[in-house]
Amino acid sequence: MAQRTGAERLLASPAKGTSAGAALALVLAALLLGGCGGSSAEPGESSSTTSPAAAAQGQAALAEAEPGAQAQGGSQAQGGATNQSPAAPGAGEAPQSAGKHGPRVPQPKGAPEQAPTPAQIANATVADISLTSPSLPPGAGGPAPLPPTYTCDGDGKWPALAWSGVPAGTSELILYAMNIAPVEGQLYVDWAVAGIDPALTGIEAGKLPKGAVVGTNGAGKRGYEICPEGAETYLFALYALPRPLSPEPGFDARELRRRILELSGNVGLYAASYERG
């Protein structure tokens, strides 16, 4: 007969080695009842806190039962073991209540903001077109950094842009580049191109598509110019119009934008930033 391993012997022949078996049984029982030190049982949580009687009394009873079990140590002990967060910004500023464990939810002032109504959504220009630039590196969560070649420090040509999700029935596409921060309190347009075929899904860097019409930018020029004094963030916007505006070359970009917004079309937005050294 082959010799059994220790574990097999323990399981198969409890009659032999009774003292060891009994000791292990006690250890097993103690460990299982104690939750192996890693169960959901919390420090300070007595067996009575999970009694069937307490459970049967329902939520209201649970809230009032066993005041002695509501020791401060409950959540405090847990936090010390596993839940120490890195110093959260503002965490220390949370309003505290003298009569309660945790913080009080701050009381808001004034009326809550109103969500857009269906009518307002219908009248808005919906930002649901995907617009991006294959010319620019990813922005790591922020605006994409604009390489100098697409500014007055380089060739001064516009980057390639690609888009998807233009709604069916779109009559005209119009591209804008705008400063996000106003200049002397006014919207500053760096570039505006109308008359883009809705069937297109992008434009090449520095090349206008056939039929495109260029407007007058904030510098008074018919063209593209990104030339900040310091750091600036720009918003490229592709507007999809439900009916054409077909402006003349050299159109007033600010005026055309007002007319675009009245049409309640769709738009794709893409942010890029540049800082002159």
Binding site: G6, L62, G74, A88, A115
Partner: protein
């Protein structure tokens, strides 16, 4: 004697494996607790942030107060819930020419669940959708409706009873909110408390 010692050793090793399994399963499925007792039935909790901000590339939108009302329960030992209300107060942008005309949560309720990442408890809120309409004649996004969508993961600190949503909590939980096809930043520190049956009781998850 030597055989007996071997038997005890093997059994203890087996127990250690069992215990490790129990410990792992317990930490992987945190439950809602009040005063260290698992929640039975349901409860409504309220979280409220001061100065919560949301940054769409190039434009930051801040709300002085950002509340959420969450109906919670434990299912098979795991904390679940539904965000039923998200009132926002006094929302503005960091641009002098852009105002928040309309902002609000859409497609409520948003399902939520608790999870554990590297021993720390997190709340995951799915199906998040917030619609924002900006206004301002000189604002680059005037009249534009931007939808913020996705899943948000926040770290729960049991000691302070605060849920923190930020870049690191999103990274830890593999969650993201998106707007305009880009991942956006959302920062919010939410003191949280029971609103219904367990008012004034210590809230924790584990």
């Amino acid at each position: 004697m030597r055989t007996k010692a071997t038997a005890i050793g093997a059994a203890l090793a087996a127990l250690a494996v069992l215990c490790a399994m129990f410990a792992t399963s317990a930490s992987a499925a945190p439950a809602w607790k009040f005063e260290a007792k698992s929640l039975e039935g349901s409860e409504v909790i309220l979280g409220g942030a001061l100065d919560s901000s949301l940054t769409i590339p190039g434009l930051t939108t801040k709300c002085e107060n950002f509340l959420y009302k969450l109906s919670i329960k434990n299912e098979a030992g795991t904390g679940k819930g539904e965000v039923t209300e998200v009132p926002l107060y006094n929302c503005t942008t960091n641009s002098e020419v852009c105002a928040v005309s309309k902002i609000g949560a859409e497609k409520l309720p948003w399902p939520s669940k608790l999870t554990t990442v590297s021993t720390s408890p997190y709340i995951i809120i799915e199906g998040v959708k917030v619609g924002i309409i900006y206004s301002g004649e000189e604002c680059a996004v005037d009249g534009i409706l931007v939808a913020v969508t996705g899943t948000a993961g926040g770290l729960i600190n049991n000691t302070t009873e605060i849920a923190t949503f930020d870049k690191s909590s999103f990274a830890a939980t593999g969650t993201a909110l998106k707007a305009l096809s880009s991942t956006i930043e959302w920062n919010g520190v939410f003191p949280t408390e029971a609103f219904q049956w367990h008012r004034e009781q210590a809230l924790s998850v584990s």
